[in-house]
Amino acid sequence: MNNSIQIKHLHARAGFGIRFNELHDQQNWSVKKAVKKLFEASEKTEPLAAIDENIDLRFKPLMQNDGEKRALQEERNRQERLLNEGWLKQLSETDAQLREKMTLFWHNHFSCNIGNAKYQQDLNNIERANALGNFKTLLLQVSQSPAMLQFLNNQQNQKGHPNENFARELMELFTLGRGHYTEQDIKQSARAFTGFAFNGKTGLYAFNPRVHDDGPKTFFGQTGNFTGEDILNIITANKQTAVYLCTKLYRYFVNEVPDINHINQMADVFYKADYEIKPVLEYMFLSDWFYEDKNRGNLIKSPVELLVGLNRQFYITYQNPDVLLQFQRTLGQVLFRPPNVAGWPGGRNWIDSSSLMYRMKIPSTILNAGVIDFAGKATPEDEAYLASQKKQRFNIINRVQAVPDWNKFLNEIPLDTSHLQIAEFLLQPKLNNVIIDEVNKSTDIKAVAIQVISTPEYQLC
């Protein structure tokens, strides 16, 4: 029994890709055993601890001069970089792959973009701690996190002056999805969330009864003196919340084109388990349809998935982590800076003319100073280009300052492995003739690896 195709697919989706020796060890395992192992590796939670100071809690003089303002902004920027680097490092190094992959899912689901790195880190840790736990717990903790309260203006949501921002996004994006609530439901539930606030002096959640509207509200046909907690309970009692979340999970893990049948199966499991996340993921990873041809090698990697996959496969260390931030910017996904409340739209939206070319060029830039081996006949123009690339080599090395551990990568691959087998291992879609031709003519395994990760095929998982 050789399950290498299924196991490789499982790790491409539930994590950020498998390594050659790991696949070799696991190829005879049953899918069930591989899934069990995946969850075991994610049992522990390591919170992100890149930021230890909340800048907003400092004593603030009433008047600040321009120099002081600039210094403060620079500190904020420094924290933001540290936070971004910290998570990217964790994504690239931890064994808890599924937990991080789900944290990334929740990071996009509970999209939040604010200037306070400490609050962002707290929210990220809530998402990590509950990544495989219970969605209802996660939802309540997110709703009471300073990051979300600030981002969706619930600090300004007060009795007599409701601010509907949080109530609207809660139903539209976090739980039910559009078309499953009315404008009236938004107006009424916004009143219930008055008082959900954090204390500006401690930076911690503290319900504020003085601004809470405790009058009766009518929400989804029920009337009562509802609190925010009550509203969340009514929303999750509605099975549409399970359907909406499973649709998103399906599109994240299986296929961008939803299969209503499969999604309803998942929603049944999720709803019956009272929103426990682990059972529904297990159900999905153990379903035969998860491994069907049409569901393999057809998801477009997000930029972060692309970069993390490279880091893991080639054991890359960055002497200047700012470079990773630059790559994220270029490719259109900076962690902790989603474009809006709906998060990154994903799928084909990652790809346009510019981003595709950058995505194909970045792997060789990190691993080989931008040089990609080329077996075809070089025209004079090609020769000129290659010569100029070689000339720039040191320039690129100095700018990128990334060191892959080639020995580690090469040692994992048995000597008798063919070029074609390496290409098949690194790519999820089937190989085309141009790639087969190129890798067969290539001089060594390193050159093969760089060619293969510089293709449109490598953009898929």
Binding site: N153, N340, I372, D373
Partner: protein, 399 residues
């Protein structure tokens, strides 16, 4: 009529009336036919710009009653007529307005408005009804219509790192170019050229892999053309040092170098002013006005203003009454601003918004945004609007 003149006229007549457009290869068009090549520049203000504090209905007392702390004081308003005036942050546009290069269309929206940023932006970008979901954008469908002048992948350029839904059709899509030279350099890689030149049609099917190869192929033809055409022209006019200023400067470079692009798309965010609106919106409006004024003056100088139309929109306006945090919440109808050298009715195009007949505290729309699009498609981009908008709209007497 002399014989030569007669021949010339009949040749023109046959070209215009007898030969179907698609039989005439684009490249064969004479240079003369290309002058007068019309460009549309779309500027998207993201976040829901508060139209009532942009073009201010200062002549209506309700405005001051509903906006106790965020109304703009009468003396500060740059008056356009006895009802409406500019936010002072738009001062750079006054000169443009006075020259007759600006039209303000009030109360533009659509039936059953949606107050979600994403949904409403999708509605504007896809030109759908508010209860229908389209996955293609209106400029994308214009590209799909395969009209005489819109079949190149560089027909529509977004000066940005990523491409908006508006620019994506079912078969064709626009190209995102922030820096033409950078894009061109990445396409010189011999290994990539090998992949592009030798892949087979089997790679061009409907799945994501086919999509990647198709995108790559189109990028190659466009990057080459854009780089080679645009590098001959340098913009000499000065632009403000803002992201939008730089983007419009790039658009100017493209237009003035004679790029055969019909649609340019740029955007500016930061308009979601729930809190502390006056400062935040003022800053963004000034960035907008300074960049647009520089762009319009530049085009006038180079003789391209008559061939260019600029349209600014936002996904929705904001509620008439302010909120308790000195901001405004999501609303509905909004103004659309149009600039160009050939406007039929410069100035304020239609009546100021009606602040008495509200729908749930929000403005009722008077002009469907698709009538604005229809005008641009019919009169400026030479394609029948029903082909792109899925039904026929009458349009406006704008250009």
């Amino acid at each position: 009529m002399r014989r030569r003149e007669f021949l010339k006229n009949t040749a023109l007549a046959s070209g215009a009336f007898m030969m179907p457009a698609f039989l005439k290869p684009f490249e064969a068009m004479a240079q003369g036919e290309l002058s007068g090549y019309k460009n549309l520049v779309i500027i998207q203000l993201s976040g829901g710009n508060d139209g009532l504090n942009t073009i201010i209905p200062y002549g209506n007392d309700i405005y001051y009653q509903k906006r106790k702390t965020i109304a703009i004081n009468k003396p500060d308003i740059i008056k356009l007529n006895d009802m409406q005036g500019f936010n002072p942050s738009l001062s750079a546009l006054k000169e443009i307005y006075d020259q007759g290069w600006m039209s303000i269309i009030n109360s533009v929206g659509y039936p059953n408005p949606d107050r979600s940023h994403f949904r409403s932006m999708d509605i504007w970008q896809t030109a759908s009804d508010s209860d229908k979901f389209l996955t293609t954008g209106w400029i994308g469908r214009y590209l799909d219509s395969n009209c005489q002048s819109c079949k190149n992948p560089y027909t529509a350029i977004e000066v940005d790192d990523t491409l908006s839904l508006a620019m994506k059709g079912a078969n064709m899509k626009g190209i995102a170019v922030q820096d033409p030279n950078k894009l061109y350099q990445t396409t010189r890689e011999p290994f990539f050229k090998d992949l592009v030149n030798n892949h087979t049609d089997a790679h061009l099917n409907e799945d994501n892999l086919g999509y990647l190869y198709k995108t790559m192929t189109e990028t190659y033809s466009s990057a080459d053309y854009i780089q080679k055409t645009s590098k001959i022209y340098n913009v000499t006019a000065s632009y403000p040092a803002t992201a939008l200023g730089n983007q419009l400067k790039t658009v100017s470079k493209f237009i003035n170098s004679g790029l055969q692009t019909r649609v340019y798309y740029v955007s500016l965010g930061g308009f979601d002013t729930h809190v502390g609106q006056q400062n935040q919106q003022g800053r963004q409006l000034q960035i907008y006005a300074d960049a647009v004024a520089a762009f319009i003056k530049d085009l006038k100088q180079t003789g391209k203003l008559d061939d260019t139309l600029v349209m600014t929109f936002s996904e929705f306006g904001r509620r008439v009454e302010q909120n308790a945090s000195n901001g405004t919440d999501h609303g509905t109808a909004n103004n659309v601003l149009v600039f160009g050298g050939k406007l039929k009715k410069p100035g304020v195009f239609n009546d100021a918004p009606d602040l008495t007949q509200l729908d749930n505290g929000d403005l009722k729309y008077q002009v469907d945004f698709r009538d604005v699009y229809a005008t641009l498609l019919d009169k400026w981009l030479d394609v029948n609007n029903s082909q792109v908008l899925n039904k026929n709209f009458n349009g406006l007497a704008l250009v």
